[in-house]
Point group: C2
Chain length 255, copies 2
DNA sequence: CGATGGTTTGAAGCGACTCAATTTACGTGG
DNA sequence: CCACGTAAATTGAGTCGCTTCAAACCATCG
């Protein structure tokens, strides 16, 4: 059996045991494909499952009364959509495929079992979830306090940073399958102003665009310019509980 | 031994076993008091602990390069500060007491043990954390897409809603120990504009102010007016794993 | 009872929005 | 392989919500 996406992701933070790896792979059985643009599920819809991204980009969003859309988060390979449905019977947001996508569908109860059988993984997932929460906080701050130029620069740096963890992105260029409207819906600007801000970014020479490919010429300098903090590179695992407590009766008796 | 704050909080969502209650109480041993305004720890500071709020209000915030402050979250009785320090060795934000406060300090490793000994609680905490994440997303949306009037109305409704869960708040009035500057730092407005928006809120007759006491005259109507969704009332627990898996070797052998 | 921090009000300026038109890119069918 | 149709990107002009700057008012407390 080959490595699973979630397994690969978690391996970045922890040396996984065989049993843990096995449990993660076991989650990723029901695979489904969606072409770009597919609306996977809608805000408010009843949903029994979580999804692990196998490939492609997605985003979650909410729609306001006036039809305006707020994109809350982008999902990349190895991400889990826990936030959307773990706390309620109905989804807190709409999930839509940005590019062609494959997802692994897992019943919420299986996710729950993971906490029981592999508490260390449960705690690690909690830590990752916390890091994502901080990351949302960063974007909130960005939207709340900074201008269009900075918001977009921050978004680009953040996406690049996440793709690095996830895609082994080597260079500073990456494909951005988003329209300027999408970008605006993510950072709280109109498409008109997104366009102007992108132009301003190019004018500094720190960002180049060619079609949908974006290259950040000098990541460090841009990061300094807009006061960007990378939240995705490392997370603390020193506090996690001992491995595999519940899975092995033998081990358990010794304790 | 009397009920602990976290225990009370989690009881709202789940019938806890004796062992679970005991474990939660055991976490709340090291209690410390802080007068209003105390800076508990600063963004970037190394920190080994989590904190459970025993009483009072606090907030977490980050400070931008230009000195601007963004308040990310308010903490009330029974809340845990996991987000700030669980994912890194250094705090992601500054924690400050708004009113006189008591906190229970718990080492991160004890929190980790909870996942091993009481996986159901770990999963529940995960779900609560997810609901908070959605709540932050709501505020992001509010700041990103709505005007001052709506942002502040939404903040007031949100605070009231959380105090209800936590404080058994009966009426529609509550004390708001925040300056207008604080409110502005939370919703992304200047104190000048906060003042004007508050006036506008009063002018509708839906909100009354008397010193630091705020009364929402007609909660439902205001909620409808600003399209507010309550995220705190209930959370789904049907997916949680079976109780107490790892704590009892005897039970474990049976499995 | 002065001092300090918070609230309130006024006036002017700007960043981002709205409205609108034009150009460019791209997928599809002939 | 080109013509066409539609979506996206680009650019311009006018407007408005919120900010900035500034000053006056008010409450609480040592």
């Amino acid at each position: 059996m080959s490595a699973s996406q979630l397994e690969t992701r978690l391996s970045h933070h922890l040396d996984l045991t065989f049993a843990e790896r096995d449990a993660l792979r076991w989650l990723e059985r029901r695979e489904r494909s969606y072409p770009a643009g597919t609306l996977i599920f809608h805000e408010g819809e009843a949903i029994e499952n979580l999804y692990i991204v196998g490939s492609g980009w997605l985003h979650s969003s909410v729609t306001l009364r006036d039809g305006d859309r707020q994109i809350l988060r982008f999902y990349f390979i190895g991400d889990i959509t826990t936030t959307l449905s773990v706390a309620w019977q109905h989804s807190a947001a709409t999930l839509q495929a940005v590019s062609d996508t494959t997802l692994f569908e897992i019943p919420k109860a299986h996710f729950g079992d993971l906490f029981r059988k592999h508490p260390r993984l449960g705690a690690l997932l909690f830590a990752i979830s916390a890091s994502e929460q901080v990351s949302i906080g960063d974007r909130l701050t960005s939207i709340s306090k900074t201008d269009g130029f900075t918001r977009i620069a921050t978004l680009l740096l953040d996406i690049r940073s996440r793709l690095r963890v996830v895609d082994n992105l080597e260079g500073s260029a990456f494909e951005l399958p988003l329209t300027q409207k999408d970008i605006g819906d993510a950072v709280g600007l109109t498409k008109t102003h997104v366009n102007r801000s992108l132009k301003a970014l190019e004018a500094t020479g720190l960002v180049e665009r060619d079609g949908r490919v974006v290259r950040i010429t000098d990541v460090d300098r841009l990061a300094t310019l807009v006061d960007f903090r990378d939240r995705h590179a490392v997370i603390a695992t020193d506090w996690l509980p001992a491995v595999g407590a519940a899975v092995s009766p033998v081990l358990e008796k010794v304790t």
